[in-house]
Amino acid sequence: MIKNLKNSFLYVSFLSMVWIVFLITIFHLHEEFVPFLYVWNLIGISVLMGIVFGIAYPYLWNYSTLKVTAKIAISTFLNFSCSIASVYLFSLQAFDFIKPYLLLILAITLIGHIIGFYFFSKYGNKKLAESLNRSLEH
């Protein structure tokens, strides 16, 4: 489990880094000269993505046996915090721009996680249970 999560963390962190640099490049969000220390901000965003999407989500989805309400609460909190921190690290201007909409973002994040962790998970479990019951008959 630890090995899987570690690999997933490194994989997601690296891909996030490439994705952020790609977005900055195609949308011309960069300046001609970027302060060297800003690179650490980008690495910070990648690490946050790695923790949330490379460790927390795979753990909650694949290994955890917590109640769905706990899963929704944990994933919503982590996702929301990670998004806000990422925007803050990316640009202070962008953070100021989204500041008035934080509650709306939280509500949308919560609804998304309810759909994902409750409805989709229930549907997935039903399918999985059916296929396992079929395997039992063999």
Binding site: N62, K67, G124, A129
Partner: protein
Amino acid sequence: MKFSYIWKSNQPASEIEIISNPSNKELLSTFEQRFFQSITLNATDFKTNRQVMIEVGNIEVIEASGHFTKIFLLDGTQLLLNKILKELSYLEPFGLVRINNSMILNLNQIHSFASGSHARLEVITKQQNKYVVSRHYAKFIKEKLL
């Protein structure tokens, strides 16, 4: 019935390959069950504090409990084993497999699977007990059942 043995040095020591006619399926399944049941564990009885030998086939679940594990037998008896769950992974070929991070279940005791409460996957045993199965181990169980 005649037995013929083919010895292969590259065959894993924990694996025995049996080639037979499909009509022998039931007979071989009985052999397998008897073989599994002959594996024993030395556990402590909660009530008497005595050491007891138990057959693997009589176990329903093994649950992690700190540095120890609790064994639940088919008749509901609870026993204590001085081992952590990880140390019991050798029981896997005998049908005792992990169903989540803190539990090992006897595959021979599975009655069915169902989508249970709180959007969790559950396994129902022949004793009508319900246990939560994590998605990761569900895929592994499926491979074992096929």
